[in-house]
Amino acid sequence: MDDRRTPLARARGLGSAKEGVHHWWIQRLTAIALIPLVVWFAISLIMLSGADYAVVRAWIGSPLVMVMLILTIGIGLHHAQLGMQVVWEDYTDGALRVVMIVFTKFLAALFGLGAIVAILRIGLGG
C-alpha cells in the first residue's frame, strides 16, 4: 500500500474510518428494498381508510402482512437513521453531533423493536 501520510499522521492513526463505503452501500440497498415495501404499504394504508379497530388488528395479524410490516418498519427505520446520521454530520459539530447520532440510532432501535413486538403480539395473540 502506498501511504502518503507523514509518519506523525500515521502514528496518530487519524484519517478515514473506512466506514463510508459501507454506509453508502447499505443506504442504497435499503432504498432498493423499500421501493416495493413502501408501494405495498401505501396501497394497503389507503385501502384501510375508515377501517375500525378489529379490521386493522385482523389485517396487521395476518401472517403475510406481519412479515411485510416488520420488513417495512425495520428496513425503513434503518434507512432513516442512516439518512439522519448524514444530516447531523452536515449541520452539527463536536459533542452535539455525537450525542444526536447516538440518540437517533437508539431511538430507531427502540421504536423498531417496540413495533416488532407489537406486531407479533397482535398476530400471535399475547
Binding site: R28, A31, I32, L34, I35, V38, V39, A42, I46, M47, S49, G50, Y53, V56, R57, I60, L69, I73, G76, L77, A80, Q81, G83, M84, V87, L107, A108, F111, G112, G114, A115, V117, A118, I119, R121, I122
Partner: protein, 132 residues
Amino acid sequence: MSVANRPTHRPLSPHLQVYRLPMLAILSILHRATGIALSVGALYLAIWVICASASPQTYAAFQGFNGSIVGRFVLGGWLFSMFFHLCNGIRHLFWDAGYGFELKDADRSGWIVVIVSGIATVLSWIVGLALS
C-alpha cells in the same frame, strides 16, 4: 489595477434573498426535508402498531388525533413526503448507476418526480376519502 479603476460591475455569487433557486436545487432540498419528515413519520408508524396492540381505548385516542385537522395535515404531508421521497429516491438510484446526468435529462426526470408524486398524493386522498 488601482482601487479607483476597478470595474464596478463584477459578478456576484447567487444572493439567496433575490436569487431564484433552480428547480433541481429545490428538489434536492425537498429530498432531504421529506427524508427528515419521513424519519419522524417512521416513528409515527411504529406508534400506530403499538397503539393497535395496546387496547381499543389507546387506538381510539390515536385515531382521534388522525381525524383532527392537525392529524389530517400530518397524514397528508406524510403521504406526499413518502411519494416524493420514493420517486426522487429512484431518480437518485439512476444517478448512482451513472444515468441521467445531462441537465436536460435531470430537468425532465425532476418534473416527472414532481408530477407523479403530486398525482399519487391527490389520488390517494380521493380513494381514501371515498372508502372512509
